[in-house]
Structures are given as C-alpha cells and as structure tokens.
C-alpha cells in the first residue's frame, strides 16, 4: 500500500513538475509555508492563552474557599490534554481509518507523514489534515490546544464539589477518546465530514462536546450544598471575584482571535480578516443582548450575564465564522446573548447546578452555532473564506440545515453515552464527590491543604 502511494506520488510529481516535491527534498521551505506556519503557531499560542482565561473566569465565579482547587484543575487539565492527545488522541482523530475512528499512526504521532506537502503530494497516514501546508508538529500543536479547550470546559460545570483525582482521570478520558472520536467524524475525514457536515472552528467538536460531557458530570454530581433551599428554589451562590472573571473573559475573547481565524491554518489574508470581524461582531452583539436580557428579565444589568453573553456569542460564531456574512454574525450574536441568559435560568430550574454557566455558554450555544451554519451560510462567502460552497436555510439550502441537525444529534448521543459510562465507572471506583464536610469547609483545605487568600478574612458562611 505504501509503495503504491509512493509510486503514485512520484508519478504525480513528474506530471506536476518540481513544485509538488519542493517542500519535500530538504531545500529551504517556501515563503508560503513559513508564513502559514507562523500564523498557525501564533494562533495556537493565543488559544493556549485561553487556559488562563478559563482559570480566571471559573475561579472568579466560584467561592474563595474553592479557588486553589479550580486554579489547580485548570493547570492540570492542559498538561493532561497535552499528554493524552499526544499519546493516542491525535491518532484517533486524524489517523486514516474508517468513518468512526482513526486507525493508522495512532500512538505518539508515529505515522508516516511528509508535511508540509499538501493534497496529492501528501504521503502519510494523516491525510484528513493534508489540506494545510504546515509541518506536522504545527498541525499537532494547533489541534492540541483545541483538545485542551474541550477538556477544560468540564471543569467549570463540575466546580466546587468534584474530587480532584476524579477530575484528572476524566480529563484524560476527554483527551484520549471522547474529544478525538467526535473530532474524527468532523475534522478527521469521518462519516459526518463525508455527509457534508461543517463546523469551521469547533462549536460542535470543541464546545458542545465539552458541554455534553460537563452536563453529565454536573447531573451525576448533583447540586452544591446550599444551591437549593428547602422549598426547592434555586439560591444564588455569588462568585468571589468578578475582577478575575472579567480579566478571564477578555483573555478568552483575545484567545478566540486565534481560535477562529487560526482555524484557516493558512495565512490567507482575506479569510482571516473576514473571520476576525465575524468573530468580534458576534461577541459584541451577544454582550449587548445578554446585558439587555438580564436587565429586562432580572431587573439589573448583571455583569456575570454580560461576561457569559460575550462567551456565548464567541461560541455561537465558532462554527459559522467562515461561512456567514458580517451582518449574519451580528444576528447570531444577538440570539446567542438572549439564549445564554435563558439557559442559565433554565438549568437552575432543572436542578442542574453549573457554578460558572459553562453549560449555557458552551453546550447551548455550541449547538446553536452549529445549527447557524445550516441557517446563515452563504455560498459565495463560504466558498471564498471557508473553502466550501454551502448555503444555509435562509439562503436556499435546506439540506445543509438537516445535515447540521444530524451532526448535533450524533455528537450529543455519542458524548452523552460515553461520558456517562466514564463518569459512572469513576463514581463506582474513585468516587466523584467530596464529603459534605469538605465541601462546606472548601476544597482548598480538603483537597490541597492550602488557601488562595491566606491571611485574608473571608466569610465562609455559605
């Protein structure tokens, strides 16, 4: 098989001339490869920086007594993702295989690969991602930071009550098989990709995958002590540091300029500029609509809702950012901001306790954003920016909407099922929840034996 590939590639090289092998023969990389690689690694660094954003948003929205625990979780989750994705995740996601999982080059990136050769000149086992002309490790690092983001989403929803070790083990599960398998379906040339399902930067692959796993985790854990009164009504458990939460939200917003525009994986000037603006427009619109919604519905413009509105808009535009017009991104953002506020109230009613609003942001808007591809995609824009000619329902493409629905349903079913089993095994072995006494005193003392604000007087009456 490999010999045949080599043979056909050699034949192609003869036909296409020297250009096809220029990057392959040890000569200096072309300017395009250099610029594309620079863009991809810079974008990856921005996405990496989102780890800090998540750490500060989550710890700010939680109570002071759990701050060390949340910061620790955010630190460790990226380390775990890095190793898990290197070990097996990348191979399952991008290795050549069947429609459901990758089968070649599974372990430690050991498959054959001649990146940055692209298209027909590519010889290797990671052919689903051969469309971008950057070295293998640039592809790997860029995809790795996305995997880390999916895994870190879980942290917020399960905060303030999950055992530290259980969370670490679940993060490995996210990086090793939950995230990569759905990723293979969509970005690894799997069955959803073949069906024509499009998710440009990961509303489904990253955000709703993280969201579904977080949902099951939050359900299995149950609400925090004191979240619901004896009458069953939800009580507010205010976060301890909204300055940190705001800092984190801005860091995440900045990171998204790597997340979405970087997903071109090529320094394509008009494409990255277009995506930059759709991304920012959706965030801005969602900030305003979430603030307005909370003002009208709850009486005051709640900063927590403003922050979650920003993130909701960013999540919602993640899938359609390369396929929709700037005007559509504005509408998508406006809807996302309303959705996130309603979702927070909805999850509270359902007795699903999500301390930071991760489900409302990543799950609800991940699903919404994925459907937006099927609603707002415009053929000319999608072709010029995203490289695929697709139209959404509002622009004469009913089929695309159905395909997006199938993608949402299939990824939901898979992640809910597999993460449920994983959480269940953890519950039966390590246990998932800390003792009531530890939860009341705070996980900082119970799990880590230290405090975030040593020497400060903080009320821990809640």
């Amino acid at each position: 098989m490999r010999r045949m590939l080599a043979y056909s590639a050699a034949a192609l090289a003869v036909v296409c001339g020297a250009a096809a092998v220029a990057a392959d023969d040890g000569s200096a990389p072309s300017l395009t490869v250099t610029l594309d690689t620079l863009w991809v690694v810079v974008a990856a660094m921005l996405v990496f920086f989102m780890n800090l954003g998540f750490a500060t948003v989550e710890s700010g929205f939680a109570r002071a007594k759990n701050c060390v625990n949340i910061l620790s979780k955010n630190f460790i989750v990226f380390a775990v993702s890095s190793l898990g994705f290197l070990f097996l995740g990348w191979g399952l996601m991008f290795g050549d295989g069947n429609g459901f999982i990758g089968l070649k080059g599974l372990w430690f990136l050991t498959g054959a690969d001649n990146s940055p050769a692209t298209g027909d000149a590519y010889q290797g086992v990671y052919s689903a991602i051969n469309w971008t002309g950057v070295p293998l490790l640039a592809k790997f690092f860029f995809q790795l930071v996305f995997c880390g983001t999916a895994a870190t989403i879980v942290s917020g929803a399960v905060a303030e009550r999950i055992k530290y070790l259980t969370f670490i083990v679940f993060s490995f599960a996210m990086a090793i098989y939950i995230y990569p398998i759905v990723g293979h379906w969509v970005w690894g040339g799997g069955w959803l990709a073949q069906l024509g399902f499009y998710d440009f930067a990961g509303s489904t692959v990253v955000h709703s995958v993280g969201g579904w796993a977080a949902l099951i985790g939050a359900i299995i854990l149950g609400p925090r002590i004191g979240k619901y009164g004896p009458d069953g009504k939800p009580r507010a458990i205010p976060g301890h540091n909204l300055s940190m939460a705001t800092l984190g939200a801005f860091i995440l917003w900045l990171g998204w300029f790597g997340f979405n525009p970087g997903s071109t994986m090529a320094a394509n000037p008009s494409a990255i500029a277009h995506i930059m603006v759709t991304t920012n427009t959706a965030a801005a619109a969602a900030i305003l609509s979430a603030t307005a919604t909370s003002w009208l519905l709850l009486g005051k413009p709640d900063l927590g809702m403003t922050i979650n509105g920003c993130l909701a808009g960013l999540v919602a535009i993640t899938a359609p950012c390369a396929y929709v017009s700037v005007a559509s991104s504005l509408i998508i953002g406006l809807v996302a901001g309303v959705l996130v506020v309603l979702a927070v109230l909805f999850f509270d009613r359902l007795r699903i306790d999500d301390p930071v609003g991760a489900l409302s942001v990543h799950l609800v808007n991940g699903v919404f954003g994925t459907l937006c591809v099927g609603l707002f995609a415009q053929k000319e824009i999608a072709e010029a920016v995203g490289g695929v000619a697709i139209s959404g329902l509002f622009f004469g493409g009913a089929r695309q909407f159905v395909v997006q629905l199938i993608g949402v349903a299939a990824s939901a079913a898979f992640v809910v099922g597999v993460s449920f089993l994983t959480w269940l095994v953890l519950k039966l072995t390590l246990g998932v929840r800390v003792s009531a006494q530890e939860e009341i005193r705070g996980l900082d003392i119970g799990e880590h034996g230290m405090e975030a604000y040593s020497g400060f007087q903080i009320f821990i009456t809640q």
Binding site: G226, I440, R441, I445, G449, M450, E451, S454, Q457, I458, F459, I460, T461, Q462
Partner: protein, 113 residues
C-alpha cells in the same frame, strides 16, 4: 438586659438566623472570628512545608436582648448550630449595663427594641 455572644461554625449561620427569626429575634451583628476550643486544628501545606492551623474560622454573633428573650435566643442558637460534633461552638451570656439607640437617644429596654 443581656448581651449574648455566640461563636458558631460559619456554615451554620444561615440555620441559626432562620431559627432566630422563628422566635422573633431579628437583630444581630455578625463578624468573622478565629478561634480554638476543644477542636484541634488542621494541617495545611505550603510548598512542601507543614503549617499547623490552630485557629479555626468561626463566626461571632452578638445579640442584645431583654430578659424575656434570653432563653428563646439561646435555644434558637443551639437548634441552629448543633451538629453534635466537636467544634459546634459556645454561647456566652453577659450582663449589659446600658444600651443607647443613636438615632433617637432612647436608652435601656426601649433601645434594644
């Protein structure tokens, strides 16, 4: 007039407040406190070095009451704060010489209200 001072577990404050409201005791002051009694402390570690934390976080309640409210207040605090474990806290009752409401200048029983 008595001043009732109670040191309780911080997370029991809500329960105590509810019990007090039920007995129509609405006025109180609450402050953070550090303290130790029979309950031993716990150990923290900071970068590999052990710290013995002997003073634990408590909440201090101060309630000034007229004589007929002394027992109900004590009962309410006990009902709200008792878990049966070491560390539930203590209640001190001391005589109160005078009480003045700043706004009106009222003194004594009326001022306690």
């Amino acid at each position: 007039m008595k001043l009732i001072v109670a040191y309780i577990q911080p997370e029991k404050l809500n329960d105590v407040k509810q019990r007090l409201y039920r007995r129509e005791v609405y006025k109180m002051s609450v402050t953070n406190a550090l303290g130790c009694g029979q309950q031993r402390g716990y150990h923290e570690m900071y970068r590999g070095v052990d710290i013995e934390v002997n003073l634990l976080k408590k909440v201090r309640l101060e309630i000034a009451v007229n004589e007929d409210f002394v027992e109900p207040t004590i009962q309410a605090i006990i009902e709200g704060a008792r878990t049966g474990n070491i560390g539930d806290g203590k209640i001190f009752v001391v005589d109160l010489a005078e009480c003045i409401r700043i706004r009106t200048g009222e003194r004594g029983k009326v001022a306690i209200g």
